[in-house]
């Protein structure tokens, strides 16, 4: 039995996580450049988390309250695992494509459940590296901890996500057993992600409400410590994890392991009764709408319009794609504005300060450059064209047998990305410009440059997606979550931030028109170059789609 579970876990982890990266076309044999980029990306995140932890622990050490940091890290790990796995558990346990292949195999329900649970556990370790392991290693370094501390940290790191994960899985298992969520699967997935973003937004608002003094930070940590303690009855592992690390208590560590292991096996036993009930109900196709087609359903449309409409429909109707590729890009400008308003003390204060901005930035160069920088940052989260070909899965070959030139189809596929990158930011900036009474000309110039950037970025995205398409996925989540190409998209944004930063540093003495024309030239040349590549090398771009 254990061997079967281990074997299934290995296969599921391999197909869900490892292959998701390595089987991406073009990444079969990892190139040195790809490995370097990967190391840089992980390294960057590690450094950011490390610096933050370093500063925080140092501040707490001034008050001799550094152990509060351990409680906070454990709390964050428990909450983040709980929060993350509520959504991923639904997708991996119930909505995953591989269920159709696993159900007919002679596995006991608990064996499949355990295999999937282990996959979720490995997933949670990825975020835990940043949220748990690195902060605790920094803590160990600063407090000159012994080797035992590091050993305990690794054990706690491996064990702490188990109970919150089981709780998420149990919630999903109960819900799916009694409610036919499959009928509202799309709605569930969309709402869950909106909820996640709303919570992040609240945290962002809370954390950005002004400067934090060391005393305020200490008060905050005491609050967090209090919160952690109030959760002890519900998450006894949280208590034992903190105690094990703070006091290096072997008893607490053993209790942490024992509770987690017992909970794991109790859950596996329960799954034998409950798991298949929800999965079987979920794998059947739904009933059909009886609404008949009528005359208005047979409307002729222009090819371009029809193609773009198809792209929008496929993008927005698939909750995974909508929530992963579109929603963050739509929400971010709104979050930014709220955070900004909160930070500056509301719209009234803004009105009072707007004249100061006008005095400081008489020529408008600063407004222009800052707006572009913000827009480039905001567009980081729209992943529409970078996944446009991959999202079609194996049906992407459709592009190759219909009588529309391939490059034209690529351009049509880029249109949703251009609009979804530009329009939300444009609307938000119109609002902010009016609120701040910004001069019109720099705002208009910034929007023109941003529009060209949005076009260029979508071209760049689709070129990368054609070169490294990700057609073979077991779950649509992998198109975004395990798609390394998105990193190239981010790099593109960061590279294009350079002209704006240079404008800010070196060109602020030049007239606005000159700064605008320089930026316009850079973005236009790049965008035209990318367009030219798509138009003339489309046969090359089509080669990996078959």
């Amino acid at each position: 039995m254990l061997r079967r579970i281990l074997s299934l876990s290995k296969v599921l982890i391999k197909t869900n996580i490892i292959d998701a990266f390595s089987k991406q076309q073009g990444l079969g044999k990892r190139k040195l450049s790809t490995i370097i980029l990967l190391i840089l990306a992980y390294g960057y995140l590690c450094v950011i988390v490390g610096i933050f932890s370093y500063e925080t622990i140092n501040s707490l050490m001034a008050f001799n309250q550094q152990t509060a940091f351990i409680s906070l890290v454990c709390l964050i790990n428990v909450i983040s695992t709980l929060f993350e796995t509520v959504f991923t558990s639904a997708n991996i346990l119930y909505f995953s494509k591989d269920n159709e292949h696993l159900l007919p195999l002679p596995f006991q329900p608990f064996e499949i459940f355990a295999g999937k649970l282990n996959t979720l556990l490995v997933y949670s370790y990825f975020s835990e590296i940043f949220l748990g392991l690195i902060p605790l290693f920094v803590y160990g370094y600063l407090t000159k901890a012994s080797i035992i501390f590091y050993l305990f940290t690794v054990i706690v790191f491996l064990i702490i996500p188990v109970v919150p994960l089981l709780l998420s899985a149990m919630i999903m298992m109960i819900v799916m057993s009694f409610v036919n969520l499959s009928k509202h699967k799309g709605l569930f997935q969309t709402l869950s992600v909106i909820l996640a973003i709303a919570v992040s937004m609240s945290i962002s608002l809370y954390s950005s409400s002004g400067e934090t003094t060391p005393e305020q930070m200490l008060a905050m940590f005491n609050q967090a410590d209090g919160l952690a303690k109030s959760l002890y009855p519900y998450f006894p592992t949280l208590k034992f994890a903190s105690e094990a690390l703070i006091n290096l208590s072997i008893v607490s560590l053993l209790l942490l392991v024992a509770i987690s292991v017992i909970a794991y096996f109790v859950m596996i036993v329960a799954s034998n009764k409950l798991y298949f009930k929800g999965v079987v109900g979920n794998s059947t196709t739904g009933s059909y709408s009886k609404k008949k087609v009528d005359k208005k359903d047979f409307v002729k449309a222009n090819v371009a319009f029809s193609y773009i409409a198809k792209e929008f429909r496929c993008l927005i109707r698939k909750p995974v794609y909508f929530t992963q590729c579109v929603l963050p890009g739509l929400m971010l400008p709104v979050i930014m504005v709220f955070t900004f308003m909160q930070g500056v003390g509301g719209i009234d204060k803004l009105n009072a300060d707007s004249s100061k901005i006008a005095d400081f930035d008489k020529g408008g160069q600063l407004t222009f450059s800052v707006l572009i920088l913000i827009c480039l940052f905001m567009s980081l989260y729209t992943y529409v064209s970078i996944t446009a070909v991959s999202r079609d899965g194996k049906a992407a070959t459709f592009m190759k047998y219909i009588p529309i030139p391939f490059y034209q189809q690529l351009i049509y596929k880029c249109v949703p990305d251009m609009l979804l990158t530009f329009v939300p930011n444009f609307l938000v900036f119109v609002y902010v410009s009016i609120a701040l009474k910004l001069p019109v000309l720099p705002v208009v110039f910034a929007m023109i440059v941003f529009a060209i950037f949005a076009i260029g970025r979508s071209f760049f995205g689709i070129i990368i997606d054609c070169k490294k398409p990700k057609h073979n996925f077991t779950s649509e989540y992998q198109v975004v979550k395990s798609n390394f190409s998105i990193f190239y998209d981010i790099v593109y944004n960061f590279v294009l931030i350079i002209p704006s930063v240079l404008s800010l540093i070196f060109l602020s003495d030049l007239p606005l028109m000159v700064v605008f024309l320089i930026n316009l030239l850079v973005h236009s040349v790049l965008t035209l170059g990318l367009f030219n590549y798509i138009s003339n090398k489309d046969f090359k771009l089509a080669q990996k789609i078959y």
Partner: protein, 239 residues
């Protein structure tokens, strides 16, 4: 008419998935393309439809070269791929309308209504393809391929998932289409279908075309008394 002239394709250096294929499918003919798994059937079909480029040789569809005149060539055929899982977020009617827009189909309402009623799928056109069974999706993809009334039908395992009535209707339609002087090229594993339907068959194994001709010719040449199954096994096992 489909002409395949000395076409080869390799995915891995040194191993030819399709090796020097020469084949002409004439107008007015139903041609069955047979072969074991991994023989090169789908690769050949992908090259005919422009999904894959041939390493060597050329393919003409009604005289248009698929690589040099792709748009003209692609207008000459309707293609049913081996998997009907296409744009599942679209409603069936949206998918069919989309294809009508691409191919500039006139009188789309009549064509869609007639074909969908024939395949008994008219009543569910307002539903998303993801809610359909495999067979229903197959019907929609098939209808989509026929809407622009192409001269050449290229069908990769078209009967898979179809219910007996739809399968029967499709076979009738294939016959009618060929009788109008047009071409049907299809791959299948169901030898009975090939035996009953095809004017000629081609058997491919390990990338090489081993036999082209009528079923009777195959019997004469290989296993005089046997079924097509026996002939097929003899040809492919001796390859």
């Amino acid at each position: 008419m489909i002409e395949i002239k000395n076409v080869s394709k390799s995915y891995t250096k040194g191993i030819k998935s399709v090796d020097g294929l020469n084949l002409t499918i004439n107008n007015g003919e139903i041609f069955g393309f047979l072969g074991p798994n991994g023989a090169g059937k789908t690769t050949t079909i992908k090259m005919i439809t422009g999904i894959l480029d041939a390493d060597e040789g050329e393919i003409l569809i009604d005289g248009f070269n698929i690589e040099k005149q792709p748009m003209e060539a692609k207008r000459q055929f309707g293609f049913v791929p081996d998997s009907p899982d296409i744009f599942l977020s679209l409603k069936a009617i949206e998918y069919l309308n989309f294809l009508c827009d691409i191919y500039g189909v006139e009188d789309r309402e009549n064509k869609i209504v007639n074909l969908t009623k024939k395949f008994e799928i008219y009543d569910v056109l307002n539903n998303k393809l993801e809610s359909f069974s495999h067979g229903m999706r197959q019907k929609i993809v098939l209808i989509g391929a026929l809407l622009h009334n192409p001269n050449n039908w290229i069908l990769d395992e078209p009967m898979t998932g179809l219910d007996p009535k739809s399968s029967f209707d499709l076979k009738e339609m294939m016959r009618e289409h060929a009788d109008e002087g047009k071409t049907v090229f299809f791959s299948t594993h169901v030898l009975e279908v090939a035996e009953k339907m095809c004017d000629r068959i081609g058997i491919i194994s390990k990338g090489k075309l081993l036999f082209v001709g009528t079923v009777e010719q195959a019997r004469e040449q290989f296993a005089k008394e046997g079924s097509l199954e026996k002939v097929f096994l003899e040809i492919t096992e001796n390859a």
